[in-house]
Each structure stands twice: as structure tokens, then as C-alpha cells.
């Protein structure tokens, strides 16, 4: 693991976990030479060193604005050559390969234990951070690595990590959603206050909290309220299935804001009136999901993200749906990869069960629908990167993820029969996780 670290020692020591080390280790030394990201990483290193980082405390660090820009920094839009193309660009392929290797070598082997324990090992979270997942949405001026829109890259990484395990991927990617939201819609002050933490080594556990515990939840019609009181906002409500809720230092809470409508508020974990309850669910278990309760939680005016523009909030809902669609593609592919050797090897009535059309066609369906889900997700994400409308495409990707993803999870278990129902095989976990991914709102972003 460390041969390349030695040769890169000078950089690595300054890197503050920017991801260079991890990328090098994960993707092999030839990759780095191939990638254009290098310049971006080096500049990020330089800027990171220049601005420094807040000191972290266990009880929730103090977030304080430093080096505020005149106006908020944003990732520029991606430019297209106007040709149809399914191939990710070099930079995206680099992240994708790194994510795949990480998922295969570290995440998958840890998945069952993490699911049982309802906890993702700290080592894996740290390695994911080294991969750069928390800072994909951070504009380059503020130490981010991406030169332009990061939605497609984030979706590709999400798919790759979730191929290892969806719950671990959720835990690993959740803080990045907060950084992405602030990078997309935050004011210059909010960016300066919070984003530096996400480009360092000690990335805070953080959560984008939209989902509420009620049937037929609609993220545009929230039960959680934010009421004006003098210079403050006072928040009340409950938010569901937050990754590592108990460890979170920072929340972006969606609330129906008086006179504004649904909007996001930056709420630090030290805020009075917050409490966290454990909320175990059928899936996403390595993410140690919990419920955030807000009872008269008071935040300053400046906590309202990006002036509470409705378009920003709607875009947040849409981007989250793309993220969950990408996380569904991972386990859907994992089901396909797993059942193929199984049905080929499994013998019944004197031959391989995959010689039977009833079995073989089920495998075809998994392949076809996984491919469709993936393309729909890529389309939505790439539209977001180019600054085109993507609400329709996000809704469609989500629909496919929820419906086909669930079916794929079910067929994965079915094809293994009774063996699929017991925990010796991972298909029962994918069954639970694929159902879960289709239900989630918010929490992740591309």
C-alpha cells in the first residue's frame, strides 16, 4: 500500500488527506500520470495549506468564517461537445476506478459485519475521505478538486461504492452532501464558515436532513417548521434516517420557513433543542441511521441557506434523487454479478439451473433494467453538470431505481431460493438496501 507514499512523501505530508495518497494507493501509480486532476489537487493542497483548518472538538467543532470571498464561489458548468457519449471523461474514470477498487478491496469485505453491527468502521470512513468524497462539490477556489460540475462524478463514485455496500456508501457520502449543498447554494459567508472543514482530514459527520417520519412524505410539503422570532429562526420537527446522526456535527435541516416555504437551515450540533434518537431500519444499517428531533431549536438569520430560494430547495430534492438512483445501480449490478456464477454452478434436475429459461430470463431482466437505470441516472446527472433542467430526468431515474431496483433485489433472492434468504449470501442485504434506496429523500446529493 505504501510504496507510492514514500515517493510522494513531501506532497503526502502536506496533503491533509486530500485524496492523493488514497488515489495513488487505490488506483495504481500509472493512473495519476494519466489524470488531469493532478493540477487541481496540487492547487487544492496549496490553498488548503494557506487557509488552514479549524480545530476539531469531540462535542462538535466551532465553525468560524475565515477568508470570506466577495461573492460565493461556484463550480462552473461542464461544457459539452454536443455529441452523444456514454464514456466518462478521464477524470471521472479515475474517480470511478478508485471507487471500484476501494469498494472491492475494503467495502465489500466489511459489509456483512457492518450490517450486523450497524456501524461502518472508522478506517473505511477515513479512507473514503482520502478518496475525496467529501469535497467533490466544493468549488476549486475553496480547495475543492473538481474543475467543473461534480454531479456525474459523484454519481459514478456513488454507484462504485454502493457496489461494495449501499449502507457503507451512504455513511461515507453523507457529509459530502452537506458540502455540496453549501457549495451550490450557500452564501459567501456560509461557504467560508463551513467548507474548509470538508477539504481537510477531519471531515465532520454531517447530514442533509429532509425525510420525515410519515407516510406519503413529500419533500415540498414539510411538517418541520421554521418560525421567525426576532433575529432568529426557531425550528421544530423530526427528520428521519440520518446517517450517523449521533456523530453529526452539522445538519442541513429542511423546514417549512415562515413566509418562504420549504428551505434549508444550517444547524450545528451544539444548538440547544436538538436531540437524536436511534432509528434502525431494514436497510442502510452500516449508516447507523438515527432520527433528529428539533424542539425550539434556535438558529440565527444567517443559518438560512442561500437566502431560502425555492429553486435552490427544489434542485436539492432533485439532486438527492439522482444520488439515490446512482446508489441503487451499484447493488443492482452486484446482484447481477453474484447470481450469474450462482445459477451457472447450481445444479437441479441433472443440469445447471441457468439452462432453464425461467431462470435465465430473470437474469436477462436484471441485466436490462440495471442498464436502463444506469443510463437514466447518468443522463440526469450530466444534465445537472451542464446546467440544463433535470427535474424530469431525476424523477425518472428515481422511479426506475425505486421500482426496478426493488424488483432486482427481490429476484436476486429468488434466484438463490432458500439460500438467498439466509445471511450466508449477500443477496438478502441487497434486497433490504434496494428497497430502502427507493424510499429515501434528501440525505445525499450529486
Amino acid at each position: 500500500m505504501s510504496t507510492t507514499i514514500d515517493t510522494e512523501k513531501g506532497v503526502a505530508e502536506r496533503s491533509m488527506g486530500i485524496g492523493l495518497r488514497a488515489l495513488n494507493w487505490l488506483a495504481g501509480s500509472d493512473l495519476l500520470d494519466r489524470i488531469r486532476i493532478r493540477k487541481g489537487v496540487e492547487r487544492a493542497l496549496f490553498q488548503g495549506t494557506k487557509s488552514g483548518f479549524r480545530t476539531a472538538t469531540v462535542a462538535g467543532r466551532t465553525f468560524k468564517a475565515a477568508q470570506q470571498l466577495g461573492k460565493p464561489a461556484r463550480q462552473p458548468r461542464s461544457k459539452s461537445k454536443g455529441l452523444f457519449d456514454i464514456t466518462p471523461d478521464d477524470e471521472q474514470q479515475m474517480f470511478q476506478e478508485a471507487g471500484r477498487t476501494f469498494a472491492e478491496e475494503k467495502i465489500r469485505p466489511a459489509a456483512k459485519a457492518a450490517d450486523d453491527a450497524r456501524e461502518t468502521p472508522a478506517e473505511i470512513l477515513a479512507q473514503a475521505t482520502e478518496l475525496g468524497v467529501a469535497m467533490l462539490g466544493v468549488p476549486a477556489e475553496l480547495g475543492g478538486v473538481m474543475e467543473e460540475g461534480a454531479a456525474t462524478t459523484t454519481a459514478l463514485i456513488g454507484e462504485a461504492l454502493a457496489h461494495g455496500d449501499l449502507g457503507i456508501a451512504y455513511a461515507a457520502l453523507a457529509p459530502g452532501a452537506v458540502a455540496t449543498a453549501i457549495g451550490l447554494w450557500g452564501t459567501a459567508e456560509q461557504e467560508a464558515t463551513y467548507l474548509p472543514s470538508f477539504t481537510g482530514e477531519e471531515v465532520p459527520a454531517a447530514a442533509l436532513a429532509l425525510l420525515e417520519p410519515r407516510p406519503l412524505f413529500d419533500p415540498l410539503k414539510l411538517d418541520t417548521t421554521a418560525v421567525r422570532d426576532g433575529e432568529d429562526w426557531v425550528l421544530d420537527g423530526a427528520k428521519s434516517l440520518i446517517a450517523r446522526a449521533a456523530a453529526c456535527e452539522l445538519f442541513l435541516v429542511a423546514a417549512d420557513a415562515e413566509g418562504i416555504g420549504p428551505a434549508l437551515f444550517v444547524v450545528e450540533s451544539g444548538t440547544k433543542g436538538l436531540s437524536v434518537e436511534d432509528e434502525p431500519a431494514m436497510g442502510l444499517r452500516p449508516a447507523a441511521t438515527g432520527r433528529l428531533i428539533l424542539e425550539g431549536a434556535r438558529v440565527p438569520q444567517s443559518a438560512l441557506l442561500g437566502e431560502g430560494r425555492r429553486e435552490a430547495y427544489v434542485e436539492c430534492v432533485q439532486r438527492a434523487r439522482i444520488a439515490w438512483a446512482s446508489l441503487s445501480v451499484g447493488p443492482a449490478q452486484a446482484v447481477l454479478d453474484y447470481v450469474i456464477p450462482y445459477v451457472n454452478d447450481r445444479q437441479a434436475f441433472g443440469e445447471s439451473i441457468s439452462n432453464r429459461q425461467g431462470v435465465a430470463f430473470a437474469v436477462s431482466e436484471i441485466g436490462i433494467e440495471t442498464n436502463g437505470m444506469r443510463l437514466a441516472t447518468y443522463r440526469a446527472a450530466s444534465r445537472a453538470d451542464r446546467g440544463e433542467d433535470f427535474g424530469r430526468e431525476a424523477a425518472i431515474a428515481r422511479r426506475l431505481a425505486a421500482q426496478k431496483g426493488m424488483k432486482i433485489g427481490s429476484d436476486g433472492v429468488q434466484l438463490l431460493g432458500g439460500h438467498g434468504f439466509v445471511k450466508e449470501h449477500p443477496v438478502e442485504r441487497w434486497y433490504r438496501d434496494l428497497r430502502s434506496a427507493g424510499v429515501m429523500e434528501g440525505a445525499l446529493l450529486v
Binding site: K81, T87, D218, S352, N355, Q357, A360, V363, R379
Partner: protein
Amino acid sequence: MINLEIPKKYKPLVNQANQVATEVFRPISRKYDEAEHAYPKELDMLASLIDGMNEGSSDLGGAGAAGVRRSSNGSDPAENRNGTNLSTVLGIIECCWGDVGLLLSMPRQGLGNSAIASVATDEQLERYGGKWAAMAITEPEAGSDSAAIRTTAELDGDEYVLNGEKIFVTSGDRADLIVVWATLDRSKGRAAIKSFIVERDNPGLKLDRLEHKLGIRASDTANFTLQDCRVPVDALLGDPEVKEKGFAGVMETFDNTRPLVAAMAVGVTRAALEETRRQLSSAGIEIDYDAPALAQPAAAARFLEMEADYEASWLLTLQAAWMADNSKPNSLQASMAKAKAGRTCVDVTLGCVELCGAVGLGEAELLEKWSRDAKILDIFEGTQQIQLLIVARQLLGKSSTELR
């Protein structure tokens, strides 16, 4: 750089095709559904126009008559290419949004033309250029199992003598040429299967009847008997040698034509969805993409579900065509596209009829017609089940003897 949109350079083509569909196909769509077997003479002028555009190397092909040759033009293989396969698929989608039966009836745009354009020698191309060619594969006892065909071709001097029966020949009555699949030696199986170009006025080619059909009624479907039908030796398309690879080559042309049929299905599906959206809107139901599907009226949720399947079909179809343009093996994706688009077209068009009730069933609108046209798209060029077999064999790494 991932970009799954219609390429900028093909937007004029798509626009042109859409105008053809709107101005030429739609106004006569019902007329030729009712007047089955009547020749849609309105298409003659359009066909000339398309010939003219093809001369000017426009890509507005009909059912892929431009052929699907995988030309290597010496450009960098790593470079992303958008070419004939993609443009043809895009054109077909628009035309079939207008009327799939009429597209299938377009003079000089038959599947036979596609086969000729794909495998003919330069000399054959010259001889048969500008003619309308239909394709005759299916027989009463051989449908999906095209290796089981019984029509024979016997060499007699410098002629082949064809004998057998062919059914379901699209445009068989109207075409100038019929590309007939026949075997040189039934004992040698698929390796001996070759295709022969038969002139429509050959006295050995007898039209038995035209079928009356559920849908695509604008398109004539002919049954023939070949009785001592003599063709010159150079009417054989491709390599006359009997070898296993030959049949694989014939089947490979299907890798390129399956996305075209998938494109037809995508076009019909979109037509039904667009009309249904209008009908639902008039009933006070608007589709909201931001609200969760299940927090909306059931009709809207159903629509979203159908639109999601449509989108997957569209993307799979474009993927298969794009891979062909970029010389990537696409047999798997071509079958995925055909399977998904074919069944989606049937499910969606029938679903749209249900959502629109009596308006959907009635002949005042085209919804019921589209749902009848749809069914053939899940059957010809390989049924749903054949596509699933091909996909399964590829995914599982199985041969056709293991997975039957």
C-alpha cells in the same frame, strides 16, 4: 464526457423527420389503417425527397435502408463518434411517432434494402441500387428458428433454383425485389443458409395472399410460394461458400437492425404518452416531476411509471446504436434495447388506452391504433422471448445448445 442527449448535429435531421411525421404521416394515419392493402400513394413524393436527401448524404433514412455497414474511416478509434446508426435511429423514432405502418411502407426503405446495403458487393449495389427490397425469412414452420428454414436453393448451371414457401414478407407486394433466405443444403444446417435477391416479377415467385392484421395495416404483408424460381448465380448476397461463419455474419446484421426496430417502438410509445398527457391534462391531471409519484393522483403516478420505462427504452436504443457507430460489439445491448422497447411499447400504449378510457378506445383518436400497431414491434426482428434468450446467453456465457 457523458452526454445522453440528441447530438447537436442531428437536431436538424430530427426536426425534418418530425415535420414529415406531422405533415405527411399523421394526416393519413387513420386513412390507411382503414384502407388495408391500399397503396399509400402520398408516400411516393416523400420517398423521392428522401432519395434526394440520401444522395446529398443526409441521414434521413427510413427503416435503415442506408445500411449499417461498419465502415472504418481511419479516424482515431478512441474518439467518440456519432454516425449513421445513431442518426438512423433518431430519424426512425420521429417517423414512427408519426406512423410506424407508413414508415414500413416507405418505398426503397425496406429491410431488404438494409441487407443489400450491408452485405452486397459493389457490383450488386450498382445493379440493385434505387430499387425497393423486401425481406423474406419466415416460413410456416420456421419463425424465430431461422436456421430451420426449408426453402431450398439448388445450383443449376449459372442459375440457382429456389423452392419453398415464405410468409410475413413486409412490403412483399409493393417491393421491386425480395431478399429470400434459402438453404443450399438442408443437411448442413445454418451454415448453408444464404440470401438471394429475387426480382418481384420473377415468374417463379407467386403471391399467395396479403394478410389482414391487428396493426401496421398501412404496410402490406405478403405470403409467397417459390416454385422453380430461377435466379442468376450472382443474385446470391455475400459469400457463396458453405461455412459456419457465414450464418453468423447473416445474424450479425440483426445486431444492427434490432436497434432500428427498437427505435420504431420508442417512437410509437412516445406518441401515445404525448397524447395521453394532453388527455389527462384536459381531465385536470398534470404530471408533477418534483412531487413523489405516489403523492400524486393514481393516473399521474401511472403515467410517470410508463414514462420511466419509455426513457429506459430510449436510452438503451441510443446506446446500442452509439456502440455500433463506435465499432463496439453491441449484440447484447441491441437485444436489450429491442426487448425493453418492444414490451414497453405494448405495455405503455395499452396503458394509455386504459387511462384515456372511451377516448382511448375510440377511433376518433389514434391511441387505440397505436396500441394495435405496438404488438408487432415486440414480435418481428426477434420476439421478446428470443431477445431475452440472446441476452441471457451473453450474460451467462452459454451456447445455444446449453440454453435453448
